[in-house]
Symmetry: C2
Subunit: 327 residues, 2 copies
Amino acid sequence: MPVTIRDVAREAKVSVATVSRALSAPHQVNEATRRRVLAVAAEFGYRPSPAARSLITGKTGNIGLIVPDLGNPFFTGVLKNVQSRARQSGYGVFVGDSDEDPAVEEELVASMAKQVDGVLLCSPGIKDGQITALAAKTPLVLLNRKVRGISAALMDSAGGMRQSIEHLAALGHRRCAFLSGPRNSWSNRSRTTALRGAAARTGMEIVTLGPFPPRYSGGTQAADLALAEQVTAIIAYNDIMALGALARLRERDIDVPGELSLTSFDDLVFAAVSAPPLTTVAMPVDAAGRIAVELLLARLADPSAPVVHQELPTQLIVRQTTAPPAR
Amino acid sequence: MPVTIRDVAREAKVSVATVSRALSAPHQVNEATRRRVLAVAAEFGYRPSPAARSLITGKTGNIGLIVPDLGNPFFTGVLKNVQSRARQSGYGVFVGDSDEDPAVEEELVASMAKQVDGVLLCSPGIKDGQITALAAKTPLVLLNRKVRGISAALMDSAGGMRQSIEHLAALGHRRCAFLSGPRNSWSNRSRTTALRGAAARTGMEIVTLGPFPPRYSGGTQAADLALAEQVTAIIAYNDIMALGALARLRERDIDVPGELSLTSFDDLVFAAVSAPPLTTVAMPVDAAGRIAVELLLARLADPSAPVVHQELPTQLIVRQTTAPPAR
DNA sequence: AACTCTGTTGTAAACGTTTACAGTCGATTC
DNA sequence: GAATCGACTGTAAACGTTTACAACAGAGTT
């Protein structure tokens, strides 16, 4: 029932080789023949079988994207841009949600490997060594994680953290809590070290809590702990957690930012319209998604292309969850 | 370099047929041989080539999901559940963003068709006829759209709309605006007709505005128009638009719900934490995603399986954007 | 006139699986 | 003791492409 290259060849009175060439190496075939072939192909609605093609060429025309949580708009923001940039170059996108589980993550890469030309790993939770091992088998580009020898699109979390601390310090805060995210995520480590540096420099006392699941529920859970620590400000790992924390604080009748300041990371669409609007570090999600695809495509086109770690700037957006401390 | 079935066969001292059977029809091969083959396969890290397999079986082990906007958490909510349910049955997920463009939508289905066993079309913008045509070529299941002859997971938008109108009517509103979404989307039509019915029944006067792009910007744009219409309540097509409208209303110093009530659809995570928290119709996104996959899998397993339109209930969640009208 | 070159086409071998079919072998049945 | 059976295995043909190689014609070169 499905129309094959043979059907087209028969109808156009040429060999299958000519049909194949008319489609994928147009200059190798006579102008007139080519037009005839294309006409027949269009008439029949012929589409080459990707399986057969990929079997022989070794290329699939697809890329894979693996993220820890499709429920988090931060990652779907990346996805949106990845898919759009990929499509622009004729690539399809496979998506996998690892649910923050390193084992699942590895399994996803492995099961995708043969169906894609390369994989984008977003904020991977697995170890550097495993990443390097995977990269040896499949072209890999990382998002939000730096591993030597592997190209990556990075968002400057550290810079964002410094801006946050300086902002809080300038407001007069002296003791604040950091609601940490996944313990071994690169983002979290990167933020933590930046935090320590900036805290030392500004004389800020830091209480690190967690790790918490970087989700709404993680935020609600964390809020109570932070409150017990007698801090005047909270830095949440991301906006979603901040939202959870905000909800919990409201339940407990704590005024934000009157009694407690709150900052976070991501600047998702709703950060501007929460109650009150979040002071948060804007992450260049769109650019990161696009650039990651471009790095991968470059590597596919030329496997010996240089490894690049492209770092994208972040910026603290001051809204209404931060204010000078109570007394 | 990549290890093939032949490598495994050689090492295990059996034919390729036996290796193949050991993996995909275990009961057809002797216990001892099977264990030996599996051991070798594991040792070599052998993974069958999906391309070769699919070429001969005609199955890919993948499904496709096409949505109008990956930037909208409503659709990524569907995606999350689709991917998780699919993976549970060993299927991979291809994702496409049509950007609300019917032409892109069709092209996506066509380009996916050969790489997937079936496609999930979420809130498609194309015409019934075209959908039926596509369904003839590829197993198709619809999300949020009813077309005869094609299975679908539906969310009861109409019921949600009735609940919203009744709620507003009970509060005393007599004239409200509907900020409509994509003109020819099934959801929008379904909501519009339910709206008319419920309005007639409750004696509510309705001003239908739009269509607006169902995005944040659509909401900000719509807010001013609604305001000019002198209504006491606004029903937005979805939460994202409601958020946009809310932001614009705040800019113009309109008190919600004091001067103007606002309801919408979706109940995304942030609906509970916006300022003020949104009164909105909760959509069963999770269930819809899962069920859509199940309908598709059922159809794949048995192409003669009955067509089912599974309708899932919605529920109005009353929060703080609705109140009795001003005077 | 023989050769080489270029442009166009066809033939056939791959790619890595699955599976119909045939075969082997030991055990069971008559 | 032959026939039948069942469990297991192997051989080889497919699946739909791409592409190396060969073939051929006509044009240009010597």
